[in-house]
């Protein structure tokens, strides 16, 4: 195996010259510039998809715990549908099939389609967590809320959801870390994110190991940052007197 060549990141992508500052100038960009912009795409796709997933996943998870059969069925069907088709196939559906079947969506940028694809895929998993979180609260809490004269939506808003979300912070954290990793499938529809960068830069520079190490490192850092943020949130919302709580 040959020696390391980290200078590859300072090369300009068109000329192949090494830029002294390691950042491109005069219209050309270096591989480092490209890497950082790819990281930006990965983070953008992940964060937006996470928002979509949290919103729809929460809604579907909540529906599955209501006393209305129709709503339960809808939530269940949604969850099973998006959980049982591989993510890559779902991305292809969004990219090739949805615009073909729904003409108004033809002009939508592929970035948005990938966000929807990754978001809906993850919403099925979050719906599972939300449902489990609500069901882990003893049925008594629901009754106590209703007995106070709360309507069902108020019972969810003030009684069930605040505790359910606290309980499911750990699994939601790992889903958030998963979404960063799963955003890598966006390469398949030419989103210029980290994995596509890895494939193309490896091809162009033949310094695959350096390129892959940098990309893997950025995935790791991104997931780690989410993990820390989640721990911070978990500590902030901890309820005194509960297990692991603050005491008197």
């Amino acid at each position: 195996m040959s020696t390391w060549d980290w200078q590859v990141f300072c090369k300009e992508t068109t000329s192949g010259d090494v830029a002294p500052s390691c950042f491109g100038s005069g219209g050309d960009i270096t591989y480092l510039d490209w890497l950082l912009s790819a990281w930006g795409w990965t983070l953008s796709v992940s964060v937006l998809a996470l928002l979509v997933a949290l919103l729809l996943g929460s809604l579907m998870g909540i529906l599955r715990t209501t006393p209305h059969r129709g709503l339960v069925l809808l939530g269940n069907a949604w969850t099973e549908l998006f959980r049982n088709i591989p993510l890559l196939v779902q991305i292809f559906l969004w990219y090739h099939v949805v615009p073909a079947l729904i003409p108004p969506l033809r002009g939508v940028p592929s970035f948005i389609l990938v966000v929807m694809g990754l978001g809906l895929f993850t919403s099925a998993r979050i719906s599972e967590q939300v449902r489990a979180g609500i069901q882990s609260l003893a049925g008594g809490q629901r009754m106590a809320g209703l007995a106070m004269g709360f309507t069902l939506p108020q019972t969810y808003r003030h009684v069930l959801l605040p505790m359910a979300y606290r309980i499911i912070i750990p699994p939601l954290t790992s889903e958030s870390m998963n979404i960063i990793k799963n955003s890598s499938v966006a390469f398949a529809v030419s989103i210029s994110e980290l994995t596509l960068f890895a494939l193309q830069a490896q091809e162009e520079t033949s310094r695959g190991i350096e390129v892959y190490l940098a990309v893997s490192g950025l995935y790791f850092i991104s997931a780690f940052a989410i993990n820390r943020a989640a721990l911070f949130i978990e500590n902030r919302v901890r309820v005194p007197g509960m297990i692991g709580g603050g005491g008197h």
């Binding site: 003893a138 008594g140 009754m143 106590a144 106070m148 004269g149 709360f150 108020q154 009684v159 007197g241």
Partner: protein, 242 residues
């Protein structure tokens, strides 16, 4: 105040309540007892519509519970309920537990709600714990807060579902004391409990249930003096033997 008329309830094919009829007059204290699985908790939860029933109807202050057009949240806001496992909201402080429904359901101002809450908290002797969360209180203290929470809605009657059976023995009396005081002030109460001392002291009538039916519905003098049914006699001898 509460009229229960020919209530029957099934879980699938299993019949949990069979043709239950009774009533609670204003200011009355009714104790409901019976072996576990006799349907007494289910019956009391039917009163404010927390459990649905398939036959019969219940009227609270003249309002039908079984009528689909009835505004159940509104009805429940006038009926206080205390649960076996307290069911305080664990993520809120005691103050918030006492004020949230006053603000969100009754539309009171936050200041008004807090003032009413503090008054009731003082009454159950827990004023100094107002800033704490439920998990930081003992079971007995939590149940007293739960009673104060129900009272904060100015209910026209109170339902108690085995309020002392999840408590350590040394905490039972602090809760019963609050309930006795409430009864003596004239609150209309329906209480599912095995505390026969409480029944003797303040109840007007005792209802004995077995296998989903009301077997005995008598004044406390009659119930403790000469229970008619054999099952009630057996139950009493078991529960009073120690």
């Amino acid at each position: 105040m509460i009229e229960i008329k020919n209530i029957s309830k099934w879980y699938g094919a299993f019949r949990v309540l069979t043709d239950c009829t009774t009533q609670v007059e204003k200011g009355e204290v009714i104790v409901v007892c019976g072996p576990s699985g006799s349907g007494k908790s289910t019956l009391i939860k039917c009163v404010n519509g927390l459990e649905a029933f398939q036959q019969g109807d219940i009227f609270v202050n003249g309002t039908s519970v079984g009528d689909p057009k009835t505004n159940l949240p509104k009805l429940r806001s006038h009926v206080g309920m205390v649960f076996q496992h307290f069911e305080l909201f664990p993520h809120m402080t005691i103050t918030e537990n006492l004020s949230i429904a006053q603000v969100k359901v009754l539309g009171r101002s936050r200041d008004e709600a807090n003032e009413r809450g503090m008054k009731l908290l003082d009454r159950v002797g827990l004023k100094q714990h107002a800033h704490k969360h439920p998990g930081q209180l003992s079971g007995g203290q939590q149940q007293r807060v739960a009673i104060a929470r129900a009272l904060s809605m100015d209910p026209i009657c109170m339902l108690f579902d085995e309020p002392t059976s999840a408590l350590d023995p040394e905490m039972v009396n602090e809760v019963l004391d609050v309930m006795v005081q409430l009864a003596q002030e004239g609150m209309t109460m329906m209480v599912v409990t095995h505390e026969m001392g409480f029944a003797r002291k303040v109840s007007n009538r005792v209802i004995f249930m077995d296998q989903g039916s009301i077997v005995e519905d008598a004044t406390k003098e009659d119930f403790f003096g000469k229970p008619r049914s054999e099952r009630a006699q057996q139950f009493l001898s078991k529960i009073l033997s120690h």
